[in-house]
């Protein structure tokens, strides 16, 4: 039998990275033999833009690096500037920052759960989970005025305080999620079809995760107890006992497959609820920002000299910002690194040997924004014939596989 290898590119639009992403698969039959990653059609040059602007303006740029992590980037950036300029953040602001970051984690993980369900063909689960997500989006709107791009962060603190009504709105949201969590867990972890589609699929071994420097739930699902909130606690996390969650607390073993990544994200939902409750219980009184007058703050930053690192555990993993201030209006250097930057290499070992129909769920499992599954070309090497698979076709393949194996 002659061996024909096909080449399947997927991509390139991909909003969770700073650049869109194209995948190039070598396929033999149904199996993936090799994976090439080819991002880079639309680098927005946000760091370059930032280096022409002052740190307060950069907060708003940082916020727009990612629409889902729109608290993580300004959080890490503010911490980097505070670190470089030696600014102390008031305690109340640290708690408010933590609450916003955890609410963001809840919306991000539920969004992901919905997407994962959709990729498997469970669209009713997508609708139900996104309906549940609306509660946290509304809460964020009550707190900040926006559903995304919250505009809460300021160098040295936060821009808005919480009133008593807002605090009770958070508590209501937490109670709501405690109520629906059982249902979400039951759907994802006890359903035999989801288990069939996700168990032993897209395995990332602990060794590979370490070698490729994976971060966040992707690393934790492979058994690496790595979480910035635990390893180098900052803000209110320093007072809370946050522990990195690995899937063995639920199943007793670590496989590193898609199922394990689902477990980690779902358990982190509960963890976020606990963190928010603890923050609300211990919310200190006082100022919310170190320097209220922006002109004064800008002058202080203009005189500052030094390097700063800000690290925040975003929903997808460690988000790190490096800032160098050199007594000038704009920072001398700014580097922002989103978690998917590190995680994208982990796709290669995950996808090796998998089937075409598993591509959507495996790619979704590290939680990039799935819009990258935009266009697929299948190239027959032997005769150079090209056929194009759209996202719909690929999705159809995935759904068909689910139907096929449903017991």
């Amino acid at each position: 039998m002659s061996k024909i290898t096909y080449s399947v590119p997927i991509g390139p639009v991909h909003p969770s990275l700073k650049e869109p992403m194209t995948f190039n698969f070598k396929i033999h039959g149904e199996q993936i033999e090799d994976v090439y990653l080819a991002p880079g059609d639309n680098h927005r040059g946000i760091e370059f833009m930032g280096m022409q602007r002052n740190p307060i303006q950069i907060i708003y740029l940082a916020e727009r690096i990612c629409g889902i992590c729109s608290a993580s980037h300004p959080f890490a950036f503010s911490m980097a500037v505070e670190n470089a300029a030696g600014i102390e953040v008031p305690e109340r602001a640290q708690y408010i920052r933590t609450i916003i970051a955890e609410l963001e984690r809840i919306q991000s993980h539920i969004l992901w759960a919905g997407v994962a369900a959709h990729e498997l063909g469970f669209d009713s689960v997508l609708y139900l989970s996104w309906k549940a997500r609306e509660v946290v989006m509304d809460t964020l709107e009550i707190l900040t005025g926006n559903r995304v791009n919250y505009g809460m962060f300021m160098i040295g603190g936060v821009r808005r305080d919480f009133s008593l009504e807002q605090v009770s709105a958070i508590r209501k949201a937490v109670d709501y999620y405690r109520e629906v969590y059982g249902k979400i867990e039951d759907i994802f972890l006890n359903d035999p079809t989801i288990a069939l589609r996700t168990k032993n699929v897209g395995i990332l071994t602990e060794e590979d995760a370490l070698r490729l420097c994976a971060v966040g739930p992707t690393a934790r699902a492979s058994g690496i107890k790595k979480d910035v909130r635990q390893d180098q606690p900052y803000s209110a996390y320093a007072d809370l006992n946050v522990k990195a969650i690995t899937p063995d607390v639920f199943t007793g073993k670590i496989v590193g497959d898609v199922y394990d990544r689902i477990i980690v994200r779902l358990l982190e939902l509960v963890q976020s609820l606990e963190i928010i409750e603890q923050c609300l219980d211990n919310l200190p009184a006082g100022e919310i920002v170190a320097e209220k007058k922006l002109v004064k703050l800008l002058n202080q930053l203009k005189k500052a000299k030094g390097r700063g690192i800000g690290r925040h555990e975003a929903p997808r993993g460690e988000c790190i910002h490096v800032v160098k201030l050199e007594e000038a209006e704009a920072p001398e250097a700014w580097k922002a690194r989103a978690p998917t930057y590190n995680n994208l290499m982990t796709w290669v070992p995950m996808l090796m040997g998998q089937q075409i129909a598993d591509i959507p769920i495996v790619i979704a499992s590290i939680d990039p924004c799935i819009a990258c599954m935009d266009r697929v070309t299948i190239l027959d090497k032997s005769n150079g014939k090209k056929s194009i698979l759209t996202k719909q076709d690929l999705h159809k393949l995935s759904v068909e596989k689910t139907r096929r194996i449903t017991p």
Binding site: H43, C213, Q230, Q232, Y234, S235, I320
Partner: protein, 188 residues
Amino acid sequence: MEILKPEEIVELFKEKFGDSITESTIETKIEGMKKNSYSSVWLTLKLNHIKEAVRLLSTIQFPHFAIISGNDLGEEIELVYHFSLYYGERFKEILVNIITLVPKKDLKVPTLTDIIPGTQTAEREIKEMFGIKVEGLPDSPNLFLPENFAKDIYPFRKDEKGIYPLSKNGNYVGENIVKRKEEVKNIE
């Protein structure tokens, strides 16, 4: 596994590399109401030892690599390799940041992918953004910049090879894309 203190890590590097380490600082950050702290180590190392340094670092524990950040200083480009050690316990993680200077006359660094494969993306980024040749890294199409991006122009450079003449804090420094000063003023 024996856990080294930040001072011991600096000592270990000084012992191995001696004068190659031109500067070392340990930064301690205190966090939270309980005033716990964690540390970061900053080492300035001569470029020719960077690979051995990472090899030494990986004998302590396989390090987590975060990112390479860079800055154009004029005559040379400063690269900072950000690593971290000891994950898994509260306040135990230590950031190890290795600063090295790459002279503009000879812009090349060795690849670290044979020690830590995860550094590949960041190495490709400095290659495209600063024009630094990464020795040992297989050639590939652009990862970050578009395919048809101008050759010999590097976005993060602040000299005549930079992308835009205003790259150093709004000052006019080069003339590769917008040729005349008046045009720059119009843009401003």
